[in-house]
C-alpha cells in the first residue's frame, strides 16, 4: 500500500517526465493499434472471404518444371523454344530443342480419368467432382461451323499451318493446357507458363479445355449438371429443348448453340453429321435435343484474325461424357494423326478437364495435402482458380498487412528501446532516492515495485490515449494506405500492359517478351489487337471478384474466358480496420510487455544498487 501511495505521489510529482513518457507510449500505442487493426482486417478478409463459398480446383501438370528438367541436357534458351513454336521461321536457328522427346515425356504425365477419380477418393474434403471432355470434330457438307469474316483468315492460317498444327495438337492435348488459345500461338503454352506461374494464370495450364487446334467444332462432354453449369464458355440458357441426360440411353443427344442452329437452319429433333477431325472417313450422327444461348457469350469472343472456328463458342456442341465414350472420343481413347513428314503420333481423342469442388478453402487445403499423401508427384500442381483469383485480389491488402507488420515491429522495437532508455536514465537519476529508501529500510523489492508501478501508471495512461487515437485513426489511415497500395499495383499492371503492347509489335521477340512480361500478358497472347484486350478485360471485371467473397466466388468459372483472369483483378480496396476488444487486448498485452521489459531494467538496476555505496558516493 505504501508502495502504491509512494508511486502515485511520484507520478504526480514528476509531471514533466511522465507526460513525456506517456506521449511516447501513446504514439507507440497508436501506431501499434493501426498496425494490429490492419493485420486483423487482412486476416479476416482472407479467412472469411472464402469461408463459406464453393471452391473448385484442378490438378495440372507442372510443365514449366518438367520442361526445364528435360532441357537441362540441351542448352537452348526458353525464348528460342517459344519462338520456334509460335514462329516456324525461327525453327531453323541452330540450337533446336528436342521437341519430340519432350512431348513424349510430357504426354506420359497426362493424368487419366481414373487417376483423377483416385485422387478425388483420396480426400474426404472433396465435396463433389465433375469433368468435361473436349474432342474436336470436323464439318461435313451438311453441317458447317459458324464463321464470320475474320475467321476466313483464321481458317487459312489454320490450313497453312495444318501440317504443324497436327503435331501442335498432339502436344496441346497431351499437355492439356492452352486455354482458349488460337492455334498460331497454340504452342505459346510454353510462353504461357510464365504468366501461369504468377498466380491466376496457372489454371491456364490446367484448365485445358478449348484447345482444338484442328477441326471445326468442339464436342464438349459433361459429366453432370454441375459441369454444365460451369461450362467453359460461360453460362447459357436454353432457348429451345432441354439439356441432354447423362445415361447411356441419352447417347448421341447434343445441344448446340443458337447461332450454330440458325446458321445451319437446324431445330430440336434434327440430326447432324460430323466427321472425325483427324479421320475424314469416320462420321458421327448426333441428335439435337436442345438449343442453347450463351448468356456470357461476348466474354468469350476471342476476336482477331487468329482464332479458330473450333474455339468459337458458337461452334461448341455440348453433350454428355457418355456420348463421347460411345463415340470413342473420350480421353481414354486415342486417335492417330499423321503429320506432313509422315510420322504417326497417337494422342488422346479428347482433353479431359477434371474439376474438384470443395465447400470451403480449408477443404481445398486439406485436399492439397491429401493428394500429396496419396502419391501425387511434385510434377503436378493442385490449383484453384477461385483461390488464386481471390488471393490476387488480396495482393494490396497483403502488402499492406506486411507493411503493417513491419511498422508494428519497428514501432515496438523503437518503443521498447526508448522506453528502456528512459527508464534507465530515470533510475540512474533517482539512484540517490533508491539509496535513501533502502537506507531507511525499504526493501529493494519494494523500491523496484514502486518504480514498476510508477512506470505502469504512466504507460497505461499513454496506452489508453494511444489506443483511443489509433482507434479513431485506424479506419481512414488504413484505407488511405490501402488505396496507395492498390494504386501501386494498378500502375504496375498498366505499365506491364503498356510494355507488353509495344513488345507485341515485334513478332520475333514476341514469345520471349510474352513470357517475360509476366502476369498481365496472356490476355492478348493470340493477337495484340486492343479489341480482344478490352473485351477480355471487361469480361473479367464483369465476372470477377470485387473484394467480397461472394464476388470472388462468382468468378468461380474463370476458365470460361480462359487464362485471362489474371489481368483485370479488382483489388480489395476497402478494409474494415476497426479496433475491437481483441485488438485492445493485444495492445494491452504489448503495452504490459513493453512496460515489463523496461521495468525489468529498472529492477535490475535497483537490485544492483547497494545503499551504502550510493550514499558513500554521495558524501
Amino acid at each position: 500500500m505504501f508502495v502504491v501511495k509512494n508511486a502515485w505521489r511520484n507520478v504526480i510529482r514528476n509531471k514533466g517526465r511522465n507526460i513525456l513518457i506517456a506521449i511516447i507510449v501513446a504514439i507507440i500505442a497508436a501506431a501499434a493499434t493501426i498496425g494490429l487493426a490492419i493485420r486483423q482486417a487482412a486476416v479476416t478478409a482472407r479467412e472469411t472471404g472464402l469461408e463459406n463459398t464453393t471452391i473448385t480446383a484442378q490438378i495440372s501438370f507442372d510443365r514449366s518444371k518438367a520442361i526445364s528438367e528435360l532441357r537441362e541436357s540441351s542448352s537452348s534458351s526458353d525464348s528460342s523454344s517459344s519462338d520456334s513454336s509460335s514462329d516456324s521461321s525461327s525453327d531453323s536457328s541452330d540450337s533446336k530443342p528436342d521437341f519430340d522427346a519432350m512431348r513424349e515425356a510430357m504426354s506420359d504425365k497426362q493424368l487419366t480419368l481414373a487417376d483423377y477419380q483416385k485422387y478425388a477418393k483420396a480426400s474426404s474434403a472433396v465435396k463433389s467432382t465433375y469433368y468435361t471432355e473436349t474432342a474436336s470434330l470436323a464439318a461435313t457438307d451438311d453441317f458447317q461451323p459458324v464463321e464470320d469474316s475474320t475467321s476466313g483468315s483464321s481458317s487459312s492460317s489454320d490450313s497453312s499451318s495444318s501440317s504443324s498444327s497436327s503435331s501442335d495438337s498432339s502436344s496441346g492435348s497431351s499437355d492439356s493446357s492452352d486455354t482458349s488459345k488460337s492455334d498460331a500461338n497454340g504452342n505459346g503454352g510454353d510462353g504461357q507458363q510464365q504468366p501461369g506461374g504468377q498466380g491466376g494464370g496457372d489454371m491456364g495450364g490446367g484448365m485445358g479445355g478449348m484447345t482444338m487446334t484442328t477441326g471445326d467444332f468442339s464436342l464438349v462432354g459433361f459429366s453432370s449438371d454441375e459441369a454444365v453449369s460451369n461450362a467453359e464458355n460461360g453460362t447459357f440458357t436454353m432457348s429451345d429443348g432441354e439439356v441432354f441426360g447423362y445415361g447411356t440411353d441419352s447417347d448421341g443427344d447434343v445441344i448446340i448453340s443458337k447461332e450454330l442452329a440458325d446458321f445451319n437452319n437446324l431445330s430440336v429433333g434434327d440430326t447432324i453429321t460430323v466427321e472425325n477431325a483427324s479421320d475424314s472417313d469416320t462420321t458421327y450422327k448426333l441428335t439435337i435435343v436442345g438449343i442453347y444461348e450463351n448468356s456470357t457469350e461476348s466474354s468469350n469472343q476471342m476476336g482477331g484474325p487468329m482464332r479458330s472456328t473450333a474455339s468459337d463458342p458458337a461452334n461448341a456442341i455440348y453433350t454428355s461424357v457418355s456420348t463421347l465414350k460411345s463415340l470413342g472420343l473420350d480421353a481414354d481413347s486415342t486417335t492417330e494423326t499423321t503429320d506432313s513428314s509422315g510420322n504417326t503420333t497417337e494422342t488422346a481423342a479428347a482433353q479431359l478437364n477434371y474439376t474438384y469442388v470443395f465447400s470451403s478453402k480449408d477443404d481445398y487445403e486439406t485436399f492439397v495435402s491429401d493428394v500429396a499423401k496419396a502419391g501425387l508427384s511434385d510434377d503436378y500442381t493442385v490449383s484453384s482458380a477461385d483461390v488464386e483469383q481471390y488471393e490476387s485480389s488480396l495482393v494490396p491488402l497483403n502488402n499492406l498487412a506486411q507493411f503493417a507488420l513491419t511498422l508494428l515491429l519497428i514501432v515496438l522495437g523503437v518503443g521498447a528501446v526508448v522506453l528502456v532508455v528512459i527508464t534507465l536514465f530515470n533510475v540512474r537519476e533517482r539512484k540517490y532516492e533508491v539509496g535513501v529508501l533502502t537506507a531507511i529500510g525499504v526493501k529493494k523489492a519494494k523500491v523496484a515495485a514502486q518504480f514498476t508501478f510508477e512506470l505502469l501508471v504512466v504507460t497505461m495512461i499513454g496506452l489508453a490515449l494511444g489506443a483511443a487515437g489509433g482507434a479513431i485513426a485506424s479506419v481512414p489511415v488504413s484505407n488511405q494506405l490501402l488505396a496507395a497500395q492498390v494504386a501501386q499495383q494498378e500502375s504496375q499492371a498498366s505499365s506491364q500492359n503498356a510494355q507488353f503492347g509495344r513488345d507485341m509489335q515485334g513478332p520475333g521477340a514476341q514469345g520471349a517478351s510474352n513470357s517475360a512480361s509476366s502476369d498481365s500478358s496472356d490476355a492478348s497472347s493470340s493477337s495484340g489487337s486492343s479489341s480482344s484486350d478490352s473485351s477480355s478485360s471487361s469480361s473479367t471485371s464483369g465476372s470477377s471478384s470485387n473484394a467480397n467473397a461472394s464476388g470472388a466466388n462468382n468468378a468461380g468459372r474463370p476458365n470460361g474466358p480462359g487464362g485471362m483472369m489474371g489481368q483485370a483483378v479488382s483489388y480489395v480496396s476497402n478494409v474494415n480496420a476497426t479496433v475491437n476488444l481483441k485488438i485492445v487486448g493485444q495492445l494491452l498485452a504489448i503495452g504490459l510487455g513493453l512496460t515489463l521489459v523496461a521495468a525489468l531494467v529498472a529492477v535490475v538496476f535497483v537490485m544492483r544498487y547497494e545503499p551504502l555505496q550510493i550514499l558513500a558516493d554521495r558524501s
Binding site: A439, I440, K443, K444, S619
Partner: protein, 235 residues
C-alpha cells in the same frame, strides 16, 4: 523534556544491559583487501550517549555502517539484543530498530519536511496511534523546529535545519538505537549544543541508545562514554 513521541518504549531500568555489541569485528571493503577495522569489540547500552572518535581513516564511518546494518562485518559479529545482525533481515532492522542520521542527511529533496518524516514511518510498517502528520509536527517540535516547516521543501532549509529534520526522521518510528554520523560537523557552536542536548534528552529520558560518530572534542566531552578508534598501522 516531556515530549511525547511514539518511542517511549523502555525506561532507564535496563540501562546496564548492552543493546548492541561489536564482537571482535573486522571489515575490509574488498575480499582479502586492506582491513579498515580490525578486531573491534565494544558494547553499547541504552540510556547512554556514546561517542566514537578517532582520526580520519580510522574507520569511524565504516563502524557506523556496520552498526546500522548497511554492511556486514568481514569477520566477527554485530549483535543486536544478543542476536547476530548478519542473520537477521537488515532492512527490517534499519526500518524498525535503528535510526540513522547520515552525515549528508540523505533527505529526499523533492519531498517536504513532513513527507520525509512520514516516509520513514511508512517504511517501518508500524502502526501509530495518531495521524502521521501530527506525529511529524510533534517531532519537529522535539528537534526545535517550528511546526510551519512541515510543508517546506527540504531544499529550502539550511544545513542545521536539515540536520534537525534528519534527526526527526530517525526518531519518527521510535527506534531503540540512534546513530549519528558527524551530526555537528558543519554547524555553529550554538546549534551544536542544542543538538547535543536533544541527543542527551533522548538517551537519558527516553532510554534510547545514542551513538555519535564525531571528531569534535566538544561532542565527545558531552557524551557519556567515548570509544576511541586507533588509527590502523599502515602496511
Amino acid at each position: 523534556m516531556t515530549a511525547t513521541t511514539a518511542t517511549n518504549a523502555t525506561s532507564a531500568t535496563t540501562a546496564a544491559k548492552p543493546i548492541l555489541e561489536l564482537d571482535n569485528v573486522s571489515y575490509s571493503y574488498t575480499k582479502g583487501g586492506k582491513k579498515v577495522l580490525k578486531n573491534i569489540t565494544h558494547a553499547f547500552r541504552i540510556g547512554e550517549v556514546h561517542s566514537i572518535t578517532g582520526p580520519s581513516g580510522a574507520g569511524k564511518t565504516t563502524m557506523l555502517s556496520l552498526i546500522s546494518g548497511l554492511a556486514n562485518p568481514t569477520e566477527g559479529k554485530v549483535l543486536y539484543n544478543g542476536k547476530d545482525l548478519a542473520k537477521q533481515d537488515r532492512y527490517d532492522y534499519r526500518s524498525h530498530d535503528i535510526g540513522v542520521i547520515f552525515q549528508s542527511f540523505n533527505l529526499l529533496p523533492q519531498l517536504t519536511v513532513a513527507e520525509n518524516i512520514m516516509l520513514s514511518m511508512d517504511a517501518s510498517g508500524k502502526k501509530f496511534d495518531k495521524p502521521k502528520k501530527e506525529l511529524a509536527v510533534d517531532l519537529l517540535e522535539q528537534v526545535h523546529l517550528p511546526a510551519e516547516y512541515a510543508n517546506e521543501r527540504i531544499l529550502h532549509l539550511s544545513g542545521g535545519e536539515q540536520q534537525r529534520v534528519a534527526i526527526a526522521r530517525a526518531l519518527s518510528y521510535g527506534p531503540s538505537v540512534i546513530v549519528a554520523d558527524e551530526p555537528t560537523g558543519n554547524l555553529d557552536m550554538g546549534t551544536q549544543e542544542d543538538i547535543m542536548s536533544i541527543f542527551r534528552t533522548l538517551a537519558h529520558e527516553q532510554g534510547v541508545c545514542v551513538i555519535i560518530v564525531t571528531h569534535s572534542p566538544e561532542v565527545a566531552a558531552a557524551s557519556d562514554e567515548v570509544f576511541e578508534l586507533a588509527p590502523l598501522r599502515r602496511r
